[in-house]
Every structure is written in structure tokens, then in C-alpha cells.
Symmetry: C2
Subunit: 350 residues, 2 copies
């Protein structure tokens, strides 16, 4: 009886909780999938193994693009995904990840953690039976791989391009024909010429897929992904059942994943970029008229969506207000430090 | 007896641990001091209040610049400080924070978490009876406040400037006379003309001290602080006594503080910058010949220190190798995205 009294007391204080977390990514993406693993490792270590997140690669339990739905319905407790995948259900999802010409990675963190962004997104996510926290960022992505050079806006007309989500809705206005193609099918589609161009992520992830062999022109910047945030989304009922200390543990684990993923990309991309160029990738900046037309197309899209979607409008207005001041401030200390250092790099002095 | 058996079992699994953490900063610096508070709040919440960090402002237990010594000797268990404060004991400390023309904030994280930086610093810190983890970053700082304009390198000659630590050693080579002055004494010293210039942090922290009233020229960038990392330093014996789960909790708390502080600055600086300019601050870029001379002076200093200090050399060589490739990579997607956005800001389109 004594032991019977003691055991529940311990259990009450630190219950064993095992969650299934479905990732929207394959294990081969060690950058993105790796951040979920890091989150799980921290959560387990912090709780002496009492709170366990089992991370499943995309497709093992749930298809990658259905992760949020599986969480909302309670099929799994949580997922590690990119909120913009679900923009078709509601464009407001995209604002929790990245939209064209949105905030960069540091600005997203500022907005999330100090600008009320996490709370604002969760006000929306609650309508979806979800709660979510930032849990990764890739930094500015590349604009992808092109079979032919893009010399002006006219060259975008009729371009069949693998590009996902909300960005596809914007780039359509430039005459591009967006295609939804899974990661593994991009290479053969480019090789056969079924598509003319494809965006994936950035140097490190792209290098593994060898795109330079079939579409050598590697354009930048990826104007639709200035600082895409990955999220850990949790079923709202499961979240509310979690002890307060485990909620704090999971939130901290998400911050670790957020910081870890960007550090991983920032460490790995420089070497990968050099490898890609050595292996035939031709680096090209997108022409200014393409960027300007895309900016105007994005602005028109935001106006359209905001007119009929108050949740989107509220969140986007908040991001826009910060974007304006943040990109003023960024021109002073950050820009001038980095540009001086870049000049030293070009002069061979670093 | 039954209760007597049960209690130690619980205690063994989750002991009560209370640590005293001395900050090198006053509470009024809500950005930096605030990150230590955030770390403490997370650590407490994650452990249901069993592991408590009591954060003390500078001077209450230990003077701000003696925090690391107090930790090493066991007077307090931990501190929240800037490692470069201790460069006089050994210049290798500075590499855990910032050195002139070093890595920016994102690059510091990449180096710390993926480039072996945390482990490399801890190999050195172990010789000091310390272990430390990154726990904050300010981003690129400003070059400070000047009573007169700096039009060329000649204007630096004989300039009495409040500037701390390792940067003082470098800026001396430009003819500047570095002064060590506590934060609260800077304003009267500038007002009286005892000093000609002073660096503090950046717009948000600087605005509170009203420097523009006595030294209106606000220069950028702070070439000695491209991404200064703040650290939580722990007494090595106390660290080793900590249960593994609390070690993980503290490490996660440090990552939260690291990310939180940069987000705090990035959120607050843009508004502060606008306020400062509205209140008379005159923004000025440092002349290129000043930056170039400072870069060469820094390179000479690194060669001097490396020649006699193997620990410094090992760590600095690791940072330099990454710096070269990171500032190549940064010129592609990140630079071109941000510059396009800055141009839109200047055109009034954001």
C-alpha cells in the first residue's frame, strides 16, 4: 500500500507522455528533418525521457502535405511542417511561414517573439484546432534552377515552373505556369523538359539532387521565401492536456529547433555553393524587371486576399508595418558592416 | 516510514536546485538583462520550479566586470556576461563574444552550433574552471556618438573615446586613446568634453541615455561588434554536479535567451532609430579609410596574439576559415533579397 501511494504521486508530477510527430519532410533533408530530431532529443533529455516525441518522416504515417490536417483531427499529436503548405485551406496559414517579399529570418523572429506574431498566428490556428510555434528557418532561399537564362520579364512568359503554394498564385501574374511536383520528381521533369524551371531550397539541399546537370542556371534571390519559418503544430486538445512544465519544455524545444535549423543552413550552404559552382552551376541574379513585376503582383495579391479575409488582413498588416521600419533600420549598421566584409571577401582579404 | 521512503525517491529524480546568477548588466538594460530573465523563467517553468536561477543585476553581488571570476571561484554558480570583458586575463575569451571584423550574429550561431564553436570555446573555458553557452546577441552595434564629425582617418588621431576591451587594443593603432568608463558616466564625460566619443550598444539602448544631446554624430557600423554573443558561464564543478536533465534544461534556456535577445533588439531598434533621428541624432557612415585602417590594424593584432597564444590561434583560425566562405555565400541570396527590399523601402513601396 505504501508503494501504491508513492507511485501515483511521482506519476502525477512527471507523467510519461509519448507523442507521434509527423514531419512534412524525408530524412534525407537532414537540415529540416534534423531540426525536428534536435527538438525531440532536447525534449527527451530535459524530461529524463518522460516526454518523448517520435518523429516520423513524411509518408510513413501521413503524407507530407497533409500533416496539419492529421494533427487537427487528432490522428497524430503534432507535426513539423511549413504552414504555407495549407494556404489553400486559408491563406492566413502562409503568414506563419513566408509570403513573397515578406520578412527575412531575423525579422520573422522579431515579429514572432516580440511583435505578437506567435499569439496572432495562434489566434488564427485556434480556429483550425491547432496551436503552433516557430521551429526552424531556412534563411533566404534561391530562386531555383532554369534550363535557359532569364534575361527579362518577357522570358518568364509561359515558363513551366515547379513552384509551390501561395508563391504560385503570385507568379502566375507574371505569366508563369506553376506546377506542383514532389521533390523526387523534379530532376526527371527538368531532364525531359516537362518543366523549364524548378525551385527547391538552397545550395545545401539542392546540391544533393544534382539539378545543375539538367538546368544549370541557378537564380537568386528566392523572392517568395525571404525567411520561411517552419512550425511545430500541435493538436489544441492535446496541448491543453499537457502538464504546464511539458508545455514549457516543448516551447523551448521549438526555439532550439528554430535556431538550430538556421545555424545548420548557414554553416552548410557556403561549402555547398562553392561545390555547385565547381560542378557547373551558373549563378545568375534575377533581372530587376522580374523582381519589380513580382513585387507588384504580390502587392496586388495581398490586397485581393485582405479584402475578403479579415484574419489574413490583420496578420499581414502587422507584418507590413514592421517590414517597413525593419528594412529602414537594416540599412544602417547591419548593411554597412556586411557590405564592408563582403568587399574584403572580394578583395581576398578575409 | 512509508512517506520517508517515497520522498527521497522523488527528490532523487528531481532535486531542488537554486542558483545565483550574476548579470554584468543593470536591470535598466531590458534587452540584455531581459534575456537572462527569460532564461530563468523558462528554466523554472520547465522544471516545475525545481531548478531556479536567481538573476542579480551587476553590482548587487558582484561587480559587472568581475562576473566570470566570481563564477570560476564558486562565489556564485553562474553569470550572464560578455566573454570579451575578460580578454585581459586571456584574449581567447574575446572570441566567445566578438572581435573586430568578426562573424555577424547568424554566422556566430552557425559557428557555435555547427562549426564546433561551443566545444572549442569550452575546451578553453575548462582551463578557467568554466563552461559556457551562447545566451544572447545584440546584432551589429553602432560605432557610437561623436562630438565632431569624422571625415577621414586623420580625425581619429588623438580622439579620446570610451571603448572597451579588445577593440581598444585595435583602435589604439589608429591613434585613438581608448577610455574605460562605466555606462552611467558616459553622458557627463561627453557633455564636459572629457571624452570626444563613446560607443555603447545600438539605437534602443542608446536612446535611453540621450547621447544625441551632447554628441550628435551617430556613426556606423560598429566594426568591433559585428555579432557580439552574450554567454551564460557556469562554474565547472557546479555544472558537473547538475543532473543531466537540468543540464539539458539550462542549455535549452541558453538557446532561448540567445534567440530572444536578438529578436528583442531587432524588434526595438527600428523604432528607436527613428526616434533618435527625430530628436537630433545625425547618422553618419564611418569613412572607408577609417574602416580599412581598422581592418588592417585588427589583422595585425590577430597575428600578434596568435603568435604567442595557441588557444586563441586555434579558435580564431576556425572563425576565419568560416568567415571567408560565409561572406561569399551571404553575397548571393541574402544580400540580393535584402537589398531589393531596402530599395523598395527607399522608394516608399513597403
Amino acid at each position: 500500500a505504501a508503494a501504491g501511494l508513492a507511485a501515483p504521486a511521482i506519476a502525477q508530477e512527471a507523467p510519461t507522455v509519448t507523442w507521434r510527430v509527423t514531419s512534412s519532410f524525408p530524412k534525407s533533408l537532414d537540415t529540416i528533418f534534423g531540426a525536428a530530431d534536435t527538438m525531440a532529443r532536447y525534449v527527451s533529455e530535459m524530461t529524463d525521457g518522460r516526454f518523448t516525441l517520435q518523429i516520423f518522416p513524411a509518408g510513413e504515417l501521413v503524407p507530407g502535405l497533409e500533416a496539419a490536417d492529421a494533427v487537427a483531427s487528432g490522428t497524430v499529436e503534432a507535426c513539423h511542417t511549413v504552414p504555407y503548405y495549407y494556404w489553400g485551406k486559408d491563406p492566413a496559414y502562409a503568414l506563419g511561414a513566408a509570403v513573397p517579399f515578406g520578412l527575412n529570418a531575423r525579422m520573422m523572429n522579431a515579429w514572432f517573439y516580440y511583435g505578437g506574431g506567435v499569439d496572432m498566428m495562434n489566434e488564427f490556428y485556434a480556429t483550425q484546432n491547432l496551436i503552433a510555434f516557430p521551429a526552424g528557418n531556412t534563411g533566404v532561399q534561391m530562386a531555383g534552377w532554369y534550363r535557359k537564362e532569364i534575361n527579362s520579364l518577357a522570358d518568364m512568359q509561359g515558363l513551366k515552373m515547379r513552384i509551390g503554394g501561395f508563391a504560385g498564385k503570385v507568379i502566375e501574374k507574371l505569366g508563369v505556369v506553376p506546377q506542383q511536383i514532389a521533390g523526387g520528381d523534379i530532376y526527371p521533369s527538368l531532364e525531359k523538359g516537362t518543366i523549364d524551371a524548378a525551385e527547391w531550397v538552397g545550395p545545401y539541399d539542392d546540391e544533393k539532387l544534382g539539378f545543375q546537370k539538367v538546368a544549370p542556371y541557378y537564380y537568386y534571390p528566392g523572392w517568395w521565401e525571404g525567411g520561411p519559418a517552419i512550425a511545430t503544430m500541435v493538436n489544441l486538445d492535446k496541448w491543453n492536456e499537457l502538464p504546464k512544465s511539458y508545455q514549457a519544455v516543448l516551447k523551448a524545444g521549438c526555439v532550439v529547433a528554430n535556431t538550430d535549423m538556421l545555424a545548420s543552413y548557414d554553416w552548410k550552404n557556403p561549402t555547398a555553393l562553392k561545390n555547385l559552382v565547381a560542378n557547373g552551376a551558373q549563378l545568375r541574379p534575377l533581372p530587376q524587371d522580374v523582381l519589380s513585376a513580382a513585387f507588384d503582383a504580390a502587392a496586388a495579391t495581398y490586397a485581393e486576399v485582405s479584402a475578403s479575409n479579415p484574419a489574413f488582413k490583420k496578420i499581414w498588416d502587422s507584418q507590413v508595418a514592421f517590414r517597413k521600419d525593419a528594412y529602414l533600420n537594416a540599412q544602417i549598421a547591419e548593411y554597412n558592416y556586411d557590405v564592408f566584409m563582403m568587399a574584403q571577401q572580394q578583395a581576398g582579404k578575409l
